[in-house]
């Protein structure tokens, strides 16, 4: 008695091919990508075994047919991309590229927070911002003025302590975004071709 056969479509179309390619490039396992095309269907374990064997055969033939072409395409495309990067003419970039560190680290961010804190104290920027809130009235009495200053300093230092990690984190995240975009910036293709 012959084994039951899995159901197969009459003909595999371009649409099946597109579905397979998209599923595969989207990260599906190659067998899963083949399954998603729906060219094979089955009922029960016997049919599953038969469908699996057929699927493996399709994929083996597919890979044999594509392997050399894939290797050749990869070599050509990857070399072209690397050459373009290597030969990019930064001298024509407008505005000129600003040099940046490869990665903005927590150390950079801590320098930022510490220096900002120091500059705000030295420049009087903090006390100016604080007084602008008008939450405390500047007294006439000298001793009270010293006390006012002590209270403001306490608020300043506790505020710095409480927000420090948050600012460090934001600085790392945002400065990395901005500097990475600057490093990736290239001449527009039209401008590049005009200058070559």
């Amino acid at each position: 008695m012959p084994l039951p056969k899995a159901d197969m479509v009459n003909v595999v179309t371009m649409e099946h091919g597109r579905q397979f390619a998209e599923a595969w490039f989207d990260g599906a396992d190659i067998n899963e990508a083949c399954f998603k095309t729906g060219i094979l269907t089955w009922n029960g374990d016997d049919e599953l075994g038969q469908a699996s064997a057929l699927e493996d055969d399709i994929l083996r033939r597919f890979f044999d047919a594509l392997k050399d072409q894939m290797v050749e395409t990869f070599v050509r495309v990857a070399n072209a991309a690397i050459d373009a990067e290597r030969l990019a003419d930064d001298t024509t970039l407008i505005p000129p590229r600003v040099e940046t560190v490869p990665v903005v680290t927590i150390d950079h961010a801590e320098t930022f927070v510490d220096d900002a804190h120091r500059h705000m104290i030295a420049s009087g920027g903090f006390i100016e911002a604080f007084c602008q809130t008008h939450i405390m009235k500047w007294p006439d009495d000298k001793a009270a003025q010293e006390h006012f200053q002590e209270m403001a300093n306490e608020i300043r230092d506790r505020l710095n302590e409480e927000t420090r990690l948050l600012v460090v984190d934001a600085f790392v995240h945002i400065a990395n975004d901005v500097t990475a975009r600057e490093r990736r910036r290239r001449c527009p293709p039209i401008l590049a071709s005009q200058t070559s």
């Binding site: 600003v98 420049s123 809130t133 009495d141 001793a143 006390h147 209270m151 975004d177």
Partner: protein, 117 residues
Amino acid sequence: MAERSEEESMGSRANGGGGERDVMNPPRIETVTIVTSDHGEAFAQDWYECDGMTQACHDTGIMTWPDGTLEDHEAQSHFRDLEDEILFGVFEATRQAIAEAFVRVANDVISRERSRR
């Protein structure tokens, strides 16, 4: 009755006056009753606008200041734009938390001041 010193007078006035009360040293600072989110947001805005922020960003060394030749004016302007973008991004990401922290800390310090005897 001995005359009160000038300092004691000021302290007494700051304490609400009344010769029978103890002189507070240092005199109490007059404050708002409560620090609100409006105060916090105003502080955060002024904090961000301080000149020290730009200098602090510069001090990190994450970007190299272009040479000071005439041809580099565009690069210098671009450098400042990038710096401004970083500072604005940091401000946007932290302003709410800074305003809230200001409200919390300032209320704590001020309520302690009001309860001082």
